[in-house]
């Protein structure tokens, strides 16, 4: 992707260090175009969540720090902003594991998402109705405590809550975690609709590579804190290495588990 005028988020060669010693990201660069869905793929501990938190500035609360590189949102440096200021600018994170406010009702959860908005109750009410049209299930559960609804409904609540901030970019961390395949599909379908109809861009961290590549337009593969490969989602899905390591489909002959692991240890991404 070239640097055309409509880049929404651009991360340039960032390095992230936790507790002053643990180097987690070793120079990650990526771009999210206006209106795009970009997938950030990789195994556990590859640095997906850290990348998202570096953008949303939730890192600092975990004693992490962006020590090199820059992050720009709409061409403006955002690495020194507080999470709250960033939400006001239109980028919001949906954290891994949903993190609903358990003791608040579903509707109250949604309303907390509008905390930073200054455009009046009328507009907030409209957003609430909009969220309910995308997630009709939440309307049925609006008076239930969020701690008691199902995992899928919690994920919907978390996404709906982020929508209430009226964002142009949602950093969506592992939305498929712990959900049944059918629900995963349902949630990704809604994400795609939000993208199409409301123009919300997504940066999506996922371990479920198959689904993520199906809905994303572009993908980055992260390994050990580095981007090892990137490309159009469709071409990534066709790539032999991606197929083998992340989609569990091997090109030539089927390998048994032990051989795959062994192969993987030797293999380096040189592309």
């Amino acid at each position: 992707m070239s640097t055309d005028g409509n880049t929404l988020l651009s991360i340039d060669n960032i390095e992230v260090i936790y507790d002053h010693v643990i180097l987690v990201l070793k120079g990650v660069s990526l771009k999210v175009p206006e209106g795009g869905i970009v997938a950030l793929l990789g195994a556990n501990g590859a640095g997906k969540t850290t990348t998202l938190k570096a953008v949303s500035n939730l890192l600092r609360a975990e004693r992490g720090e962006v020590t090199k590189g820059s992050i720009e949102f709409r061409g403006e440096r955002i690495d020194k902003l507080s999470p709250s200021d960033l939400v006001k600018k239109g980028a919001i994170q949906v954290m891994e594991g949903r993190h609903c406010f358990e003791h608040l009702t579903v509707e109250e959860n949604l309303l907390t998402g509008a905390y930073t908005r200054k455009d009046g109750n009328r507009a907030v009410k409209d957003s609430l109705d909009l969220v309910y049209t995308y997630f009709p299930r939440l309307k049925d559960r609006m008076r239930s405590q969020a701690g008691y609804i199902s995992g899928g409904e919690q994920q919907m609540t978390a996404i709906g809550r982020a929508l209430m901030a009226n964002p142009s970019l949602i950093l969506l961390d592992e939305p498929s975690m712990g959900l049944a395949p059918q629900l995963v599909e349902e949630i990704f379908e809604i994400v795609a609709r939000l993208n199409r109809e409301e123009g919300v861009s997504f940066l999506l961290a996922e371990q479920n590579t198959t689904v993520a590549l199906r809905y994303a337009s572009y993908g980055y593969i992260l390994e050990n804190g580095r981007v090892v490969m990137d490309g159009e989602a469709s071409s990534l899905a066709e790539n032999e290495d991606v197929k083998e390591f992340y989609l569990g489909i091997s090109g030539a002959e089927r390998k048994n588990y032990r051989e795959t692991k062994h192969y993987r240890r030797r293999k380096r991404w040189l592309a």
Partner: protein
């Protein structure tokens, strides 16, 4: 003696009413704890010290010859500054730390504020007159023979007003909702753009205001002195009974503990040699804890299986 309670229902009633009214006073202290617990999940050990600090500051202002209302305003301002400094110096660096660490920090704060209060304003006992008469309402005395003082009535009124205000604030306002959100999940609250710093500063300022009200009323009752800081201990059984995070619980808990204290002293005390008023509530609260750890009105701990 228990039979005596049934033989003399009016006397028993008077004992219970007296207890309820002193219970309201405990509720006032407990409210401060509830505020901070609700907004941050921290049991604020320093609440008693805040009460002492507020009361001492207020009474000193009066002694300097400041007008009553102006003294309230100045004390409130000082409590705000104190709240902001606590947030900036103690709480902000501890964001996302386990709650036990925050709790330990409030223990430290407790001693710091106690020392500060006495260091700045001195340690002598001051009397405080709020201008509310300590005489019983004659009408009530004549009609049913029960004595309730104007002061008790005023404290009950103030407590009721505070509960009403706080309930509306927590349940109906944007900021109140944000406070409860922060209490549930600091990180998630940050992620949706709720500024933790503002929320915490606000909560501690609110707790400061509650502390001032409690300090003024208690100060008028027992004098402004160091023992005000120990009121925090009196609030403990109230909180256990009512639930740490419930405004209504603080009030109901206070009423029950107050009534229980007096009732047990008068009617059970003689069997066991008296003076059980001081420890009976704690025993009761401990037993209660075994059956309903979240208190009467506390939030249930949600566990998904």
């Amino acid at each position: 003696m228990l039979e005596f309670a049934f033989q003399e229902p009016m006397f028993a009633l008077e004992v219970i009413i007296g207890g309820l009214l002193s219970g309201i006073m405990y509720s006032l202290v407990a409210l401060g704890f509830v505020l901070i617990f609700k907004a941050s999940g921290i049991f604020n050990f320093a609440q008693g010290a805040l009460v002492l600090f507020a009361a001492l500051t207020f009474v000193k202002m009066l002694e300097f010859g400041v007008n009553f209302w102006l003294a309230i305003v100045i004390t409130l301002a000082i409590m705000m500054v104190l709240a902001l400094s606590i947030e900036r110096v103690v709480l902000r660096p501890l964001v996302n730390q386990p709650l036990i660490i925050l709790f330990m920090a409030t223990i430290g704060l407790n001693f710091l504020i106690e020392g500060l209060a006495q260091g700045i304003w001195g340690a002598e006992v001051h009397s405080l007159d709020l201008g509310i008469p300590e005489e019983p309402l004659e009408g009530l005395m004549d009609a049913v023979g029960i004595s309730i003082t104007y002061f008790e009535l005023a404290s009950a009124g103030i407590a009721a007003a505070m509960v009403f205000g706080l309930s509306i604030f927590f349940n109906k306002t944007r900021v109140g909702r944000a406070l409860r959100a922060v209490a549930d999940d600091h990180q998630a609250a940050m992620s949706v753009g709720i500024p933790l710093q503002h929320i915490w500063a606000l909560t501690w300022a609110a707790a400061g205001i509650v502390a001032l009200v409690a300090g003024m009323l208690w100060g008028a009752k027992i004098g402004v002195q160091f023992s005000l800081a120990l009121l925090a201990l009196k609030a403990l059984p109230v909180l256990i009974l009512g639930g740490f995070d419930s405004v209504a619980g603080a009030i109901v808990g206070g009423l029950i503990i107050g009534a229980l204290e007096k009732f047990s002293e008068v009617f059970i005390g003689p069997y066991v040699g008296g003076a059980i008023e001081n420890w009976f509530p704690y025993v009761f609260a401990t037993v209660f804890l075994l059956f309903r750890p979240q208190g009467l009105f506390g939030q249930k701990i949600i566990e998904r299986v």
